[in-house]
């Protein structure tokens, strides 16, 4: 590689520095958290006291509930004499996580295989890529019933309903993976390809020994996008699949009752976001393990 000979642009970190950096970034995270909180509350207070109106926007408890209210809602009963909201949401999150995990795996695989096929067969790429793009612009809510009606009867009993959700989740997941895989696999240094050609390596070998390793940064970027997307996909998929035990059901309900209890929707979003973040972290961890190359290439 052209750049292989050069030393690292950034000197390697010492352990001490690394610890200091970690501490600093945690500190910074907290600082941002506090800053956002202050900004939110400050803006709200300012808006409420001045009666500020920006277009439709007006600061009040409905548009901007207090952050502490959002958090404390979690630890209040979900209704009179009911379990704590956080317990309800925790169960829902676990349920959704299962669907999303299957959806993510499925979507990542499909996306990768599709990307690899398109990268290898230019004709395929020219013929089908537009329609893969088209498939993604079809509003999922319009096709979701079709998916449920078609997929559900063909699933084994154990997978009924939530299997269809996983399929919808996969549908929302595969596209970024396919696009990035395609780009990554075709971004290989032509000289590196020539080497493989000189060994008369078959496309399969070229794929595994050259293209995929070279494309890993692209693929992992896509997986990082796909991980939270699979959670979104699962949540959206729960609606047409009539699943009420997941976060989708909760969101739909709180959505419906937003005017009476806005903090609940915000709290549920918080949980959905945490779920997405944990999916993201899993991918991040996998990346750390899989990609071992020049430090400057691992961002």
């Amino acid at each position: 590689m052209a750049y292989a000979a050069s030393a690292t642009a950034r000197p390697p970190l010492l352990d001490r520095e690394r610890t200091r950096n970690a501490a600093a970034s945690v500190g910074l995270f907290l600082a941002v958290l506090i800053a956002l909180w202050a900004l939110w509350e400050g803006f709200k207070a300012f808006g409420e006291s001045t009666g500020l109106r920006l277009g439709q926007f007006e600061a009040n408890d409905r548009t901007m509930p207090h952050i502490h209210d959002i958090v404390s809602t979690l630890f209040e009963p979900s209704r009179r004499n009911g379990p704590l909201l956080i317990d309800v949401l925790w169960d829902a999150a676990l349920f959704t996580a299962k669907e999303a995990a299957v959806g993510f795996t499925l979507g990542a695989l499909i996306g990768f295989v599709l990307g690899a096929l398109l990268a290898h067969f230019v004709l395929l790429q020219r013929g089908f890529l537009p329609y893969i793009v088209a498939s993604q612009t079809i509003p999922i809510l319009a096709v979701a019933p079709m998916v449920v009606v078609w997929v559900n009867p063909r699933l084994p009993p154990g997978l009924k309903d939530w299997g269809a959700v996983a399929v919808i989740s996969a549908y929302l997941t595969f596209f970024p993976v396919a696009i990035n895989t395609l780009r990554g696999l075709t971004s290989v240094d032509p000289r590196a390809l020539e080497l493989m050609r000189s060994y008369a390596a078959g496309s399969w070998k070229v794929l595994w020994k050259l293209r995929v390793p070279a494309a890993l940064p692209f693929i992992f970027a896509a997986l990082k996008i796909a991980a939270p997307a699979s959670v979104v996909g699962a949540i959206i998929g729960e609606l047409p699949a009539s699943i009420q035990n997941g976060l989708g059901g909760a969101i739909l309900n709180f959505n419906q009752y937003y005017v009476t209890a806005p903090t609940r929707l915000w709290a549920t979003n918080l949980i959905a976001a945490l779920l997405g973040i944990s999916f993201f972290l899993v991918v991040l961890l996998a990346e750390r393990l899989a990609v071992r190359r020049a430090p400057e290439h691992v961002a």
Partner: protein, 275 residues
């Protein structure tokens, strides 16, 4: 002649892009089995392109390339040759060891043999102890040595080498010259070798092909009739110096025949501001 030739080029022309650079023009060349042919010529004259054409890594615009009696493509498919590129082309995600073992993996050697072979090769190119380093942790010359080791690993019958020793110090270079000669003689393989060092070309090869400036043509072919095996003494022989002078003369002629950039022309006007 072409019956027995390992590599045979017939009227090969290569130009890049529509109406772009013509890298090779009407090249005719036969390389006989067991020959050690050096290619020498001004920078940008088409040496690397020629090697690529032989290796079926670039398709000639016209003309015919026969390798081992078959098409270049078939020869490549049969893994008839090993190549050292001008720049090392190492895979960053593989350790040095694994880079060297790459062709062996592709040939399906078993792990044990691979390890053994890689150890030998690391020793040959004096990189013991760097086996588990990554390419970007090596100096330029070390990278080049890894790529040499990789090409030698499966002992191909035809070796295509593009300035393999360019980034090496004189001592290492001389040692590897001797090693290469030894391997060549022991295995009876055929070598096509690009170099900018006239003395290296003469020392190593049985024939030296002098190419002329763009568009690349064969300006002359110098038969190197020095005795085999060659060694340190060879460099002291008068015939060696004669041949070096002859190649140099041919090169000068070839270098001048197209563009006549007299030295001194194109002088750099030293910029006024020296900071």
């Amino acid at each position: 002649m072409s019956e027995q030739a390992v590599v045979s080029l017939r009227n090969v022309t290569k130009s890049f892009g529509a109406g772009g650079v013509t890298a090779l023009q009407s090249i005719d060349l036969d390389v006989r089995p067991g020959e050690f042919v050096s290619l020498i010529g001004p920078s940008g004259c088409g040496k690397s392109t020629l090697l690529r054409v032989v290796g079926d890594l670039v398709e000639p615009s016209s003309g015919e390339v026969i390798v081992n009696g078959k098409s270049a493509r078939q020869a490549r498919r049969d893994r008839d040759y090993g190549i050292v590129f001008q720049d090392a082309v190492l895979y960053d995600w593989r350790t040095v060891e694994k880079n060297i073992a790459l062709p062996l993996e592709l040939l399906g050697w078993d792990k044990g043999r691979q390890t053994e072979r890689v150890r030998e090769l690391l020793e040959l190119v004096e990189l013991q102890g760097f086996g588990s380093h990554r390419p970007w942790q090596l100096s330029g010359g070390m990278q080049q040595r890894v790529s040499i080791a990789r090409a030698l690993s499966f002992a191909p019958a035809l070796l295509l080498m593009d300035e393999p020793f360019g980034a090496l110090d004189e001592m290492t270079r001389e040692r590897l010259n001797s090693e290469l000669l030894r391997i060549w003689q022991a295995s009876g393989s055929t070598v096509i070798f690009v170099t900018h060092s006239i003395s290296e070309a003469v020392f190593l090869s049985t024939r030296t092909v002098v190419m002329s400036r763009r568009p690349g043509r064969i300006a002359a072919i110098v038969d190197v009739d020095l005795a085999q095996p060659r060694n340190a003494d060879t460099r002291e022989e008068p015939r060696f110096f004669e041949l070096v002078t002859e190649v140099r003369d041919r090169l000068r002629e070839g270098g001048l025949d197209e563009e006549s950039t007299a030295p001194g022309e194109g002088e750099l006007v030293v910029s006024e501001e020296t900071p």
